[in-house]
């Protein structure tokens, strides 16, 4: 069973690397959000792997990291939702989703009228 934990631990490490690379190199903000979620799930998996090593007293995985990951997943979802709401508002306000400050300041075509 420990071998499984090692396999998934290596998988988690690669997922963190993939997420980090995507976060840096993808120009689209939405892609950055997705990459950040991949990175986050890798970190959560590392928790799970360490917890798997702490199997004791008839429990297969240390419950404390499990509970931390459950809270973490929900918080990550809330952060993603907030980030996407910001992005959609940016798009609504400026008609583009670029994060560069030196790009043409397009005539603010705000459909909502404020």
């Amino acid at each position: 069973m420990t071998s499984g934990a090692t396999v998934f631990g290596l998988c988690a490490a690669v997922a963190v690397g993939l997420g980090l690379y995507g976060l840096i190199t993808n120009p689209q903000p939405l892609r950055k959000i997705i990459a950040f979620n991949v990175l986050g799930s890798g970190v959560f998996l590392l928790f799970g792997v360490v917890g798997r090593r702490g199997a004791a007293a008839g429990i297969g995985n240390d419950p404390v990291p499990q509970a931390l990951v459950i809270t973490g997943v929900v918080v990550a979802f809330a952060a993603t939702a907030l980030a996407i709401a910001l992005l959609l508002r940016l798009f609504q306000k400026t008609g583009t989703t670029t994060l560069c400050s030196d790009v043409r300041p397009s005539a603010c075509s705000d459909p909502s009228g404020d």
């Binding site: 792997v49 918080v75 992005l87």
Partner: protein
């Protein structure tokens, strides 16, 4: 190599394949689809790690609701995908690749060097389970031993929803979140949205209720209830409530509010903040959880619906 190890290697490879696809594919919409598949398979890894509670959360919230969120955003931002000029140069890419490989290698090395038996809190949790008379150790940690984390996490959800709502244009302040979904009331989506929600409600409440003794709980149950609500909204059978509604705001603060009240009660009557009197531990926890599942279902649904876009009229 045993057959279980082969299965684990294959599973890890497929998960990484989806992770790679999600990072490398050109279209954002395809990346969102890849992330959904990735999230659902990661849930299988959690099952193999003997953490079924986390697997349910990962499948329901990260893969399911998170996937809907990303797909919806990708569909709405489709027109903005033409700005490819700002892609970073080769030097930046190479540096990012080196950095990512180094960090992944360091983490992999740490995993490789982990001791066979890590320090663990499991025996102490089993030894103290009598205090709450709940059999699920994860629920014990969430609701009693680390209740502070769970309460603060409810506050984070509340802050997130306030943040999303505050992005509303002035004209739509206090209005209905998200676009108006107009689907054919006789269509197939409406048909599914008429049949499935009652079943989903029974399953959601079951997942919540069984969380006391078996894998499950308020987060997973709340996510199922939220998805049923969203299905009805997307099929045009229901509409998102105006954010200025008093009952909605009461539901949103019910979970953290009751949690805080019980915690202060512990300070007043007992020894410490969030200390449950042993005789009432189980009913108190259940009460908090009932308030929590309502709050979680409403918050997750509203986070997905997004900022208010339509005025109250």
């Amino acid at each position: 190599m045993s057959i279980a190890t082969v299965f684990e290697v294959v599973l890890a490879t497929v998960v990484l394949g989806f992770g790679f696809w999600t990072t490398a594919v050109r279209k954002t919409y395809s990346a969102a689809v890849g992330f959904v598949a990735y999230g659902l398979l990661v849930a299988l890894i959690w099952v193999r790690l003997d953490a079924v509670d986390v697997a349910l959360t990962e499948a329901a919230i990260s893969g399911g609701l998170g996937g809907v969120l990303l797909l919806g955003a990708a569909a709405r931002l489709r027109d903005s995908e033409t700005t490819a000029a700002e892609a970073p140069g080769n030097l930046t890419r190479a540096c990012a690749a080196v950095l990512s490989v180094l960090i992944a290698a360091a983490l992999a090395g740490a995993v490789w060097l982990l001791p066979e038996h890590a320090p663990t809190l499991a025996p102490r949790i089993v030894a103290n389970a009598w205090a709450t008379s709940l059999a699920n150790p994860v629920t014990n940690v969430l609701m009693a031993f680390r209740a502070m984390d769970t309460m603060l996490e409810k506050v984070v959800l509340l802050l997130a929803i306030i943040g999303v709502w505050s992005l509303a244009p002035d004209t739509a302040w206090g209005g209905r979140p998200g676009p108006c979904h107009r689907a054919d009331p006789n269509g197939v989506l409406a048909f599914l949205a008429r049949l499935l929600p009652p079943v989903g409600i029974v399953v959601g409440i079951y997942v919540f209720w069984t969380g006391a003794d078996h894998p499950g709980g308020a987060f997973q149950g709340g996510a199922i209830l939220a998805s049923m609500w969203l299905l009805a909204i997307m099929a045009g059978l229901a509409d998102t409530p105006a954010t200025s509604r008093r009952w909605l705001r009461c539901i949103l603060i019910a979970g953290p509010g009751l949690f805080l009240a019980v915690g202060l009660g512990g300070l007043w009557f007992g020894s410490a903040f969030l200390a449950y009197p042993a005789a009432y531990a189980k009913p108190l926890i259940l009460g908090i959880e009932v308030a929590m599942i309502l709050t979680i279902a409403a918050t997750l649904g509203l986070l997905l619906a997004g900022a208010p876009e339509r005025s109250v009229k």
